[in-house]
Symmetry: C2
Subunit: 110 residues, 2 copies
DNA sequence: GATAAATTCGACTTTGTCGAACAAATCGAC
DNA sequence: GTCGATTTGTTCGACAAAGTCGAATTTATC
């Protein structure tokens, strides 16, 4: 496997994919990120990242047949691979172990 | 303030600066990151990031007079600014709110 | 001048970001 | 039934920001 480090946005996307448990695709993943973090990435950003994560082997895609709603092509849904799962865990743990024990809530000491 | 997003390594460096409470400089900050995360960044990476964080106004530097140890120039120690502190908190919270409620420890469900 | 401690520089790769172009499907009108 | 309009969704291309580092430079002491 090439790299083991994830960018912050890659983390967010991976977490969104995980939350949507195999049913997330471009639009819903972007919405999940927006609702939870307040960040409002363009759809293009989401897709680019999804694509890179796929090439790294951290997620995999499956294209569904279009539904009965008026027009539109089929959704491409994503789910984490085992590798993606461990990369995500490792990445979160790195941050956690740096933050451990610190008080940094709004009122804490600098 | 320009951007509000931190890269993953920026987070790590900011956390290291915070941990060392105004006394950290290149070498010790890199060591802190290595000891806690297992990641072993080159010194150049640390300094570059320190520099960018300074330009963004997230940390500030103070150059100390050299100590009595044989040779060498004075250390440049860093501490968080208020802005750095809130950027860090916001960044960690974004990740926390995406991860909240998920079980993703080694044995958890995918 | 040699040695030591520490920081800056320059160059390059990887990630982040997005708007605009493209693709696939359905609907209505003819 | 087939052709353009409409809708839903994805891919492309291009550039900005962050990550990465080795080598060069600076500042001191011996």
């Amino acid at each position: 496997m090439s790299r083991l480090f994830l960018g912050e946005f890659e983390q967010l996307v991976l977490l969104a994919v995980l939350r949507q448990d195999g049913n997330g695709y471009g639009v819903t993943l972007r919405r999940e990120i927006e609702e939870r973090t307040g960040r409002r990435p363009g759809l293009g950003s989401v897709y680019t990242t999804l694509d890179r994560l796929t090439r790294k082997g951290f997620i995999e895609a499956r294209t569904l047949a279009p539904t009965e709603v008026r027009g539109g092509r089929g959704k491409k849904v994503f789910r984490l691979t085992r590798g993606g799962r461990s990369a995500l865990i490792a990445s979160l743990e790195r941050i956690e172990s740096m933050a451990r024990g610190l008080t940094l809530d709004a009122d804490g000491a600098l």
